[in-house]
Symmetry: C2
Subunit: 158 residues, 2 copies
């Protein structure tokens, strides 16, 4: 007779852990800066890259639906945290980038989030953290969640 212990079932554990970790982080960007998760992902993507990029690019690399990104972009523009400029070579898309205010928010938020991440992982030794990152990477690669060298060049096209 088949049995499945939810508490030992990796998919369930990942779901629960991700939800818990997200909740812990949201107190930073949500409560303090009024950003929801999609908005934070837009800010994070634009802040990390120095060049402007399209909404589609953000949707692809954060694995978020394009309509969700579209709404986040609208909200962030009305708050003057990002701006968009027309792309002369392709008038369908817009190039997005942080405004000065957006940059300031990014600079203020990032250290807080990195501190939270350290807190959450502080139960692991340095070696264990490294191992954990490596194992996550292997699973991501096998699910094609990360860019192989081939896929990376395709991503550039976005």
């Amino acid at each position: 007779m088949a049995k499945l212990d939810l508490f030992k079932f990796v998919p369930f554990r990942l779901n629960r852990l991700a939800a818990e970790v997200s909740a812990a982080l949201s107190s930073e960007y949500q409560a303090r800066y009024g950003l929801d998760i999609p908005e934070w992902r837009v800010i994070a993507t634009l802040g990390f890259r120095n060049d402007a990029c399209s909404a589609q690019y953000i949707a692809h690399c954060t694995r978020t639906h394009k309509s969700t990104i579209s709404r986040a972009v609208t909200a962030l523009m009305t708050r003057d945290l990002i701006e968009r400029v027309e792309n002369a070579s392709d008038r369908r898309e817009f190039r997005l980038r942080l405004t000065q205010r957006g940059h300031a928010l990014y600079e203020e938020l990032i250290p807080r989030l990195l501190r939270k991440e350290r807190e959450i992982l502080s139960c692991l030794s340095a070696q264990e953290r490294k191992d954990f990152a490596g194992l996550l990477g292997k699973i991501e690669a096998s699910l094609e969640l990360v860019q192989t060298s081939k896929a990376a060049s395709e991503t550039e096209a976005y």
Copy 2:
């Protein structure tokens, strides 16, 4: 100047990985059996425990909101997959358990899900899988997502 690479940021990676793994599994319980995630959690909890338990217990141990569980219970009852009996000693709560049909579905579904889990983790060696489970466990424990011996006895009260 602070920077944060989303692709190396563990909270983001956990979210993305959990979403991807869930999507891979949902093709089993969703497409084939018409169960959504909350419904599957109710089935899984009832199938694993031999005794009947309350909706509140399921909500607590799967970390799902009680209103979500309530809806899942209603849906599963109309499909005759679970049944509930009054609890004479506390008439506020109901004891839930799988019906025969529910048991049959459980027996059919579990091997499929376990196979999927194996597939997803097949990119890791046996030792790596063990390590990964152990590291997950440490993080869960530090976030109090799992029952310590003390918390376990409290859980019994549900």
